[in-house]
C-alpha cells in the first residue's frame, strides 16, 4: 500500500473541504450569529493538517486499486470527522458523536438527524449541514477530481469506488473532464431549481437549503417538520419533481444535452425507475383516498411527494406519513430498498441492480423449462458480462448481511422492531427518516452512542456501496505486502 500517496490525497481532500467551508462561513458572517469562530477554527485546522499531509514526499507516485479504495473510505471518514467540528465548537451539538452522526448523515446524503429542534441552530451551521448534502451527492472526491488539475489515470480507481452503481462509465475519455461535466450538470440543475423556488416565493435562504438537500438527495431541511412546514403545493411540486430528476442517471442528461433526446426514453433503467414511481404513486393514492385525505387530489399531492422523496432516498416529508395505512407504509419501505438510478445522486440498492436481478430470475426460469438452452442477460441491447451479474447478486447478499448485523446491534437499545428496522433501512439506503420513533416527526436522538456509531457506519457503507468500507475491516488490507 502506498501510504505516502494516500496521505497526500487525503491532505488535498481536506484542503478542498476547507474551501467548501468558506461558503457557510460567509453565511455565518452575513447573519452574524455565534458560529463564525467555529468555522474559522475548523478551517484553520483543516488547512494546517491538509497542507502538512499534501506535502508528504512520495517516492512512488502510482495509485493502485487498493490505494484508491483506501483514499475513498478513509477520505469519507476524515471529511466527516472534521466536518463535525463546527457543530461541536459552536456548542450547537455538544456531543461529538452526535455531531459526527449529523455530518456523516449530511455527506452520505442520508438526512437523518439527532436534532430535536432544527430551527434553533445558527443559520451558518444549518447552511453547512445542507451544503454537506450537496457536496456528498455527487461525491467529495469527484469534486476533488473536478477542482484539482492533477487528475491522472490512476485516479480512476477513486472515481470508481465513489460513484454509485455497478459499473460507472465515464462520459468522456478523460477522468478530470468527466468529473467537471458531472459537476457542471449538477450545478446547472441545482440553479434551475433555485430559480423556480424563488419564483414560487420561497425566501432565498430556505431556497438554497432545500435545493442543496434536493440535489444531493439528502433531505436536510431548516424546518422541524421539513417541507410540510410551508404547506405550499408549489414548493412541493417543484421539490418533488427535482428529487425525481436528481434520481436519474446523469449520463442520460449528458446524452440529452448532446442532442440525443430519445435515449432517455429508450433507457431500460429509466423506464423501470419511472414506472416504479408511477405505480407506487397510483397505489398509495388509492390507498390514502378516503381514510386519510378526503379528495383524490390531496391524496395524489402527498403520495407523489412522498414516493419521490423515498425512492430517490432524499427523505423530505410533506406530511407525517407514519400515520398512513400499513399498505402505503409497506410500499414506502420497499421503495427505500430499491432506491434511485445508478449514476444519480440517490442511494439505495439502485434500479439497475433490481432490473438485472429480475432478468436473472427470467433466465433461471427458462433454464428449468429448457435445461439446455443458452440465454444471455441483455441490458440496453448489450450482453451483460457474467462477472457483472455475479457482482450484483453478491452486492444484494452483502447488503442483507450488513442490514442484519446493524439491526442486531441497534436492537440492544430495546426500541420497537418497526423503528429499528426502518432506522437501519433509512440509514443503509441513505434516506433519512423511517417509521415509528425515527418517523418524519421523530429523530435519532434517543438512540445510544453505540447505535449512533453503528448508524454512522451503515450510512457510509450505504453511500460508498459497501465494498470500499468493507475492505477497511479486512485485516489483509492493512498489510504492507499482501500475499
Amino acid at each position: 500500500m502506498n501510504i505516502a500517496m494516500i496521505l497526500r490525497n487525503l491532505g488535498k481532500l481536506l484542503l478542498v473541504e476547507a474551501g467548501c467551508m468558506l461558503l457557510p462561513l460567509l453565511v455565518a458572517v452575513i447573519y452574524n450569529q455565534n458560529d463564525i469562530m467555529a468555522f474559522l477554527i475548523t478551517i484553520m485546522i483543516l488547512v494546517v493538517i491538509g497542507f502538512a499531509l499534501s506535502k508528504i514526499p512520495a517516492r512512488n507516485k502510482n495509485i493502485y486499486a487498493r490505494d484508491g479504495f483506501a483514499i475513498v473510505s478513509l477520505g469519507w471518514i476524515l471529511v466527516s470527522l472534521f466536518g463535525a467540528l463546527p457543530f461541536c465548537i459552536s456548542g450547537a451539538i455538544p456531543s461529538y458523536i452526535d455531531a459526527v452522526f449529523e455530518t456523516v448523515s449530511g455527506f452520505t446524503t442520508t438526512g437523518s438527524s439527532i436534532l430535536r429542534d432544527v430551527e434553533s441552530l445558527p443559520k451558518g451551521l444549518l447552511f453547512w449541514r445542507s451544503f454537506t448534502n450537496w457536496i456528498g451527492g455527487m461525491g467529495v472526491l469527484v469534486m476533488m477530481l473536478a477542482v484539482l488539475p492533477t487528475a491522472r489515470a490512476d485516479t480512476l480507481q477513486i472515481m470508481k469506488a465513489e460513484s454509485p452503481g455497478p459499473d460507472p462509465g465515464k462520459l468522456v475519455p478523460r477522468i478530470g473532464q468527466s468529473a467537471k461535466i458531472l459537476y457542471r450538470m449538477y450545478i446547472g440543475l441545482s440553479l434551475i431549481q433555485v430559480i423556480l423556488l424563488l419564483i414560487a416565493g420561497m425566501p432565498l435562504y430556505d431556497t438554497l437549503i432545500h435545493t442543496f438537500s434536493t440535489a444531493g438527495t439528502g433531505g436536510f431541511s431548516n424546518m422541524n417538520t421539513s417541507v410540510g412546514a410551508y404547506n405550499n403545493v408549489y414548493y412541493e411540486i417543484i421539490i418533488g419533481v427535482f428529487m425525481f430528476l436528481f434520481g436519474v442517471n446523469f449520463t442520460l442528461y449528458y446524452q440529452v444535452l448532446n442532442g440525443d433526446v430519445k435515449s432517455i426514453a429508450k433507457d431500460e433503467e429509466f423506464r423501470f425507475y419511472f414506472f416504479t414511481v408511477a405505480g407506487a404513486i397510483v397505489l398509495i393514492t388509492c390507498n390514502l383516498w378516503g381514510p386519510i385525505f378526503g379528495t383524490i387530489w390531496e391524496s395524489l399531492r402527498y403520495s407523489f411527494f412522498q414516493v419521490s422523496s423515498v425512492i430517490t432516498t432524499t427523505g423530505f416529508s410533506s406530511t407525517n406519513f407514519d400515520v398512513w395505512p400499513a399498505f402505503s407504509k409497506t410500499i414506502l419501505v420497499a421503495l427505500m430498498f430499491i432506491g434511485a438510478s445508478a449514476g444519480s445522486t440517490g442511494g439505495g440498492i439502485k434500479c439497475l441492480r433490481f432490473l438485472l436481478l429480475f432478468k436473472t430470475i427470467k433466465r433461471e426460469v427458462r433454464r428449468i423449462i429448457h435445461p439446455r438452452s443458452i440465454y444471455t442477460v441483455k441490458y440496453g441491447g448489450k450482453t451483460v458480462n457474467g462477472d457483472v451479474l455475479f457482482g450484483v447478486m453478491n452486492y444484494f447478499f452483502v447488503s442483507i448481511i450488513l442490514f442484519a448485523v446493524s439491526l442486531f446491534l441497534v436492537s440492544l437499545d430495546d426500541f420497537d422492531m418497526v423503528s429499528n428496522f426502518t432506522a437501519v433501512a433509512a440509514t443503509l439506503n441513505n434516506i433519512g427518516p423511517g417509521l415509528g420513533i425515527v418517523g418524519p416527526m421523530g429523530n435519532f436522538a434517543d438512540y445510544s452512542d453505540l447505535s449512533k456509531i453503528v448508524f454512522s457506519f451503515t450510512m457510509l457503507f450505504g453511500r460508498l456501496e459497501i465494498y470500499p468500507m468493507l475492505i477497511l475491516f479486512a485485516p489483509t488490507f492493512w498489510k504492507r505486502v499482501n500475499i
Binding site: A65, R152, A153, Q157, P173, R174, K382, N385
Partner: protein, 457 residues
C-alpha cells in the same frame, strides 16, 4: 485532440498510454473485452467494446468530432476499411497500420484512395532502424536530426576506454570538444551530467554532435568503427524480408535462418540475392556450420523473445561484434543490455514513437511544436528538435542568461552552415534548429524549455 484508436493490441495500448499522458482525449475500440480491461483499469481513456468497422460503434465513439483515427488492428484489410469508414463519417485525419509487403509497394495508391494521412508499417520501420544501427555498429542506438546533420548515439562505457574516471570538463582538452554527452544512464537513474561528472564502467552515454565528430570521438575512445559486410538473421518474418531488401542496397550480405520450410521457400523466391537456410536458429551446431563467428553482425528476429535471447547469447559467445535483438513483449531493455546484447529493437516502440511525432505535429500547429521527437533510454528521456520562429521568446539572448526548466538541456544548434554545440555565450537565432534533451518532462512547445530570461524579466 480527440483521438480514436481501433485495436487494443500491443501498439494500440502503448499509443493510448502515451497519448493520454500527453493530455489527448483517447477512445479505444476493440472487440475483445479482456483486452480492454487492462486499458480501462490503468489508463485514463474511454474503452468501447465493438467492431471498429461498424458505423454505429464509430459514431458511439464520437467519430464526428474526432481529430484523428488510428487503425491498428491485426488485419491490414480491416484497418483500411476502418480508416475509409472513419473518413466518410467525418474524422479529420486517419492513420492506418499496413504491414504486408505486398501492399507496401502500392502505398501511394492506397494513401490517396483511402484518404490516409499516414501509413505505419512497424516491420518496415523496424527494418530501417536495424539498417541504421548497422551503419554505425559501435552505437547501441542511433537517431538523426536536421536531415542527418546532427547525430545522436548511445554507447556503453567499457573498462578499456580511456575516458573512465575522468571528469567531463577535462575531456574536452584531451579529445574533440565538439560533442556533448547529453544524458547518461547509470543503473536505473537517468542523469544530465555536469562538468564534474565522472564516467564509470557500465554507464550508457548519449552523445550528440556532427556525424563526423561523433565518429571521431568514438574512434578516439576506442570504440570499433569498422564497416559491416556480413549479417546473419535468425527468423524470416516480415522484418527480415524488409531488412534483406534494405541491406542489399548497401551491399551487405545477408543470411536468413528460418525454421519453417514453406516460409523459407517463399523467402528464397522473393529474395533471390539472399541466402535462406531452413533450420533452427537456436541450434548452435547449425549456426557454427554457417560460420557464425565470421559474421560482422547477428540479428535475432523470431517472434519469440526467449528464442531471440538464446540465439543472441550463442552469437555473443562466438564473438560476433554486433548483436541486435528484436523484442515484442519486454519493455525493459536494461534486462537485455545486462546480458551483453548491443542493441534492442522494439517494433511496438518504434511505431508508437512514429505516431507520437505525427500527433505532436498536428496538435498545436499555431505555437512552436517539436519537429521530431525521439524517446531514448527506456522512454525516460526525450530528444526533441525545434525550429526557432517568431513566437520564440528568447531569441538572441546568451544561453548563460537563460534559466532552463529543470531536467532540460540544449544539446545542439544547427544554423545555416554550421552545427554548434552550445556554450554559455552562444545564442539562439531565428530559424535555428535546436536539439533539446529533456528527462522526466514532457515538452510540447519550445517556449517551455526556458523558465526565465535572466535579467531581462
Amino acid at each position: 485532440m480527440k483521438i480514436i484508436i481501433i485495436g487494443d493490441g500491443k501498439v494500440g495500448y502503448s499509443l493510448a498510454e502515451h497519448l493520454a499522458q500527453e493530455n489527448h482525449d483517447v477512445t479505444i475500440i476493440d472487440k475483445d473485452p479482456e483486452a480492454l480491461r487492462k486499458a480501462n483499469e490503468v489508463l485514463d481513456v474511454m474503452c468501447i467494446k465493438g467492431n471498429g468497422v461498424s458505423t454505429k460503434v464509430l459514431l458511439e465513439a464520437g467519430i464526428k468530432e474526432a481529430d484523428l483515427l488510428i487503425a491498428a488492428t491485426s488485419s491490414d484489410e480491416r484497418n483500411m476499411v476502418c480508416a475509409l469508414t472513419g473518413r466518410k463519417l467525418g474524422v479529420k485525419h486517419t492513420i492506418a497500420r499496413i504491414r504486408d509487403p505486398e501492399y507496401a509497394n502500392e502505398l501511394s495508391v492506397l494513401k490517396t484512395e483511402l484518404g490516409l494521412d499516414l501509413v505505419i508499417n512497424p516491420e518496415l520501420a523496424a527494418a530501417r532502424e536495424i539498417a541504421r544501427l548497422l551503419r554505425f555498429p559501435s552505437a547501441a542506438n542511433v537517431e538523426d536530426f536536421v536531415k542527418g546533420r546532427i547525430e545522436f548515439i548511445e554507447i556503453a562505457a567499457t573498462h578499456d576506454m580511456p575516458i573512465i574516471g575522468i571528469p567531463i570538463r577535462n575531456l574536452a582538452k584531451k579529445y574533440l570538444s565538439n560533442i556533448l554527452i547529453g544524458v547518461v544512464k547509470r543503473g536505473n537513474d537517468v542523469i544530465i551530467p555536469n562538468g564534474y561528472f565522472e564516467i564509470d564502467v557500465g554507464d550508457r552515454l548519449n552523445i550528440i554532435g556532427k556525424p563526423n565528430d561523433v565518429f571521431t570521438f568514438c574512434k578516439q575512445i576506442g570504440k570499433d568503427t569498422q564497416k559491416i559486410k556480413k549479417v546473419m538473421v535468425v527468423g524470416g518474418g516480415m522484418i527480415a524480408h524488409y531488412l534483406a531488401m534494405n541491406l542489399k542496397l548497401n551491399d551487405i550480405k545477408v543470411k536468413i535462418i528460418e525454421i519453417d520450410r514453406e516460409r523459407s521457400t517463399e523467402l528464397a523466391e522473393m529474395l533471390p540475392d539472399t541466402l535462406v537456410i531452413n533450420g533452427d536458429g537456436t541450434d548452435k551446431v547449425l549456426l557454427d556450420s554457417e560460420n557464425l563467428s565470421e559474421m560482422d553482425a547477428f540479428i535475432a528476429l523470431t517472434g519469440r523473445d526467449e528464442e531471440n535471447l538464446i540465439s543472441s547469447m550463442i552469437a555473443k559467445q562466438s564473438g560476433v561484434k554486433k548483436v541486435i535483438v528484436k523484442t515484442t513483449r519486454i519493455d525493459n531493455p536494461a534486462l537485455f543490455n545486462d546480458l551483453g546484447v548491443d542493441s534492442i529493437v522494439n517494433p511496438k516502440l518504434i511505431t508508437t514513437n512514429y505516431i507520437l511525432r505525427y500527433v505532436r505535429g498536428l496538435s498545436d500547429a499555431q505555437g512552436n511544436p517539436a519537429e521530431t521527437v525521439y524517446k531514448i533510454v527506456d522512454e525516460k528521456a526525450e530528444v526533441l528538435e525545434f525550429i526557432a520562429n517568431e513566437s520564440t521568446k528568447f531569441l538572441n539572448i546568451p544561453l548563460k542568461n537563460l534559466k532552463l526548466a529543470k531536467g532540460v538541456i540544449i544539446g545542439a544548434i544547427a544554423r545555416k552552415n554550421e552545427i554548434i554545440i552550445p556554450h554559455g555565450d552562444d545564442v539562439i537565432k531565428l530559424g535555428d534548429h535546436v536539439i533539446v534533451i529533456s528527462i522526466d518532462k514532457f515538452i510540447s512547445d519550445f517556449n517551455e524549455v526556458v523558465v526565465s530570461f535572466g535579467g531581462l524579466l
